[in-house]
Symmetry: C2
Subunit: 263 residues, 2 copies
DNA sequence: GTAGCGTTCATACACATGTTTAAATCTTCG
DNA sequence: CGAAGATTTAAACATGTGTATGAACGCTAC
C-alpha cells in the first residue's frame, strides 16, 4: 500500500509523529489539533493528510508503533513463564508479566520520550476513537491475561475477577497518565530516587490486594446498613441536630476498630 | 443578584439543568454542546445564555446543586464520628465517611437520576473547567479527610499517603463513571442484586488495601530486577529465542509462588 | 387597551476544527 | 538542461462551537 517514501528531506513524517506523541501525552487525543501538531513539527497543515490521510490514521500509526511491541512482549513473557511453571502462577506474577515489558520498553529511547505517560494516556483517554482502537487491538491479549488471572485466582467468579481487574487497571492508568509517577518514583524517603524494580514492586504491592482482598464481612455490612439508614438530617436541619443524630451511631465502634489499622 | 424568576412557563431553567445533567453523565463536559442541551430540553439555543449567562455558569450551577450537600454531609459525618470516637478511626471507617453520604443522596430522587455516575464523571472528567472547579471547591474537604486518613495511618509518610489516596480515588471514579456499577451491584452470585450496604462494604474492601498494603519486600524487588535486566530479545529476534531467553528466569519461581494466592 | 417586563425565538458573529484543492516548490534522473 | 514525480504551501471549504443581538411573543398591572 505505502510507497517507499524516501525522497527529499523526508523526515516530515517522523517529525509529525514525534509532535503527535508529545501533544497526545500532554493533553490527550481531543485536545490535540492538526494545527498544533503541524506547528510543533514545523510542517504545513496539509502535511498530515498528505502523509497519513487523516488525523485518525496518524494516531493509529503512532499507537501501532508504540503498542504492538509491548503486547507482543507481554504475550511472549507470559507464555514462557507459564511453560516454565506448569504448577501455576500467582496473581502478582501475572501482574508482573503485564508490567515488566512496559518497563523494559520505557528504557529504550527508541520507544518514545515518556513511554509510561503515553501508556497512561492511551488507557485513560476518553475519546471514542482511542477506546475503539484499544478494544479492537487488545482483545487477544486481554483475553489471554484474563485466563491467566482466572487460573491464578480460581476462587473468584469470572464476573468478580473482571470487576477487580477493571478496577485495578483504572487505578493504574489514572496514575500513569498524570505527573504522579514522579511522586511514586521519588517519594517515601524524600529525595532519593528509586529503581525501576522497586517502583514495579510497589505498583504490584498496591494492585494485587485489589485482586485478592476478600469482600466485606457480614458484620461490617450490618454496621454500614445502620449508618446508611440514618436519614441525612444534617442536610436539612441546622447544626444543632448533629450530636443528636450521631448518637444513634453507637453501634459503629466495633467495626471502626475492627476494620481500622491503628498505628 | 438573581430575581425571583417566577413567571410564565418558567420551568425552562429546570429543564435545562436536567438535560445538562443527563448529557454530562453520558459524555462529559466537552462532549456536551449547548445545542445538544437546548435541543434535549426543548428550549432555544439562546436560553442557556439568557438563564445562566454561559455554559460554564450553567455547569457550575449544576455542580453546586449536586456536590455542595454531599460535601456538607461528609464533613458533618466525619466530625461527628471523630467526636464520638476520640480513640481514633480506622482507615476503612474514614473511607466509609467519604462514601456513605454519597449513597444516602443516591437514594433521594431529588438528587438526580444517576447520582453515582454523576459523581464518577465529575471526578474523572478531563476538562480543565471541571478540574479547576473541583480543586477550588474541594480544598477544604480534601484537606480535612487527608488529616483523618493521616491519623488513621500514622505509619505512612504524607507523600506516601497522598499517593495511595490518589491511586484509590482514581480507581473509584473510573469505576463509578462507567456502566460497571451495574456489574458491581449484580455480580458474584449472578442475577441477585445486592443492597447498598453490601455494595459499600465491597467498595471499602477493595479500596482499603490500597491504603494499608505494605510495599514490596526486598526479595520481590530482586526478582523483578532480574526479570527487567533481561534484554527484550523477543522483540528483535524471531521466535526461536524464546525458550532460551526465559530459561534465564529460573530464579523467579520462589517469588511467583510466594506472591501468588493459588486456590 | 396598552405599556412594561420577562421570556422565547431565529439569526448572525467570531472562532476552531478536520479536510480538500490547486498552485508552487523541491528532488531526482534520463 | 528539463521533464516527471514527490513534497510543500497558502487558501478555501464545510461543519461545529460558545456567544450576542434584536425582534417577536405572552403575561400582568395600570
Amino acid at each position: 500500500m505505502n510507497k517507499t517514501q524516501r525522497t527529499g528531506s523526508g523526515d516530515t513524517r517522523k517529525r509529525l509523529l514525534e509532535a503527535t506523541e508529545w501533544l497526545f501525552i500532554e493533553g490527550g487525543y481531543d485536545a490535540m489539533s492538526l494545527r498544533h501538531i503541524t506547528a510543533r513539527a514545523g510542517a504545513n497543515l496539509a502535511a498530515v493528510n498528505y502523509h497519513f490521510g487523516s488525523k485518525e490514521a496518524l494516531m493509529q500509526e503512532l499507537l501501532s508503533q508504540r503498542l504492538d511491541p509491548l503486547n507482543r512482549d507481554r504475550l511472549h513473557l507470559l507464555s514462557a513463564c507459564e511453560r516454565q511453571h506448569p504448577e501455576g502462577l500467582g496473581a502478582a506474577a501475572v501482574l508482573g508479566m503485564l508490567f515488566i515489558p512496559a518497563f523494559r520498553l520505557n528504557r529504550d529511547e527508541s520507544c518514545g520520550p515518556a513511554y509510561m505517560r503515553l501508556l497512561g494516556r492511551v488507557y485513560s483517554d476518553p475519546s471514542l476513537f482511542i477506546r475503539n482502537y484499544l478494544q479492537q487491538h487488545y482483545r487477544p491479549i486481554s483475553g489471554r491475561f484474563f485466563e491467566a488471572f482466572s487460573r491464578a485466582l480460581p476462587a473468584l467468579s469470572r464476573q468478580d475477577l473482571g470487576l477487580r481487574l477493571h478496577f485495578a487497571l483504572k487505578a493504574l492508568s489514572g496514575m500513569l497518565a498524570g505527573e504522579d509517577m514522579r511522586v511514586l518514583v521519588t517519594s517515601i524517603n524524600q529525595g532519593t530516587t528509586i529503581t525501576d524494580a522497586e517502583l514495579l514492586a510497589r505498583l504490584i504491592s498496591l494492585l494485587s490486594p485489589i485482586l485478592t482482598a476478600p469482600f466485606g464481612t457480614p458484620a461490617q455490612v450490618k454496621v454500614i446498613e445502620q449508618l446508611l439508614q440514618l436519614d441525612g438530617s444534617t442536610a436539612r436541619s441546622g447544626g444543632a441536630a448533629d450530636t443528636a443524630q450521631v448518637s444513634d451511631e453507637s453501634t459503629a465502634p466495633q467495626w471502626i476498630k475492627e476494620g481500622g489499622l491503628a498505628s
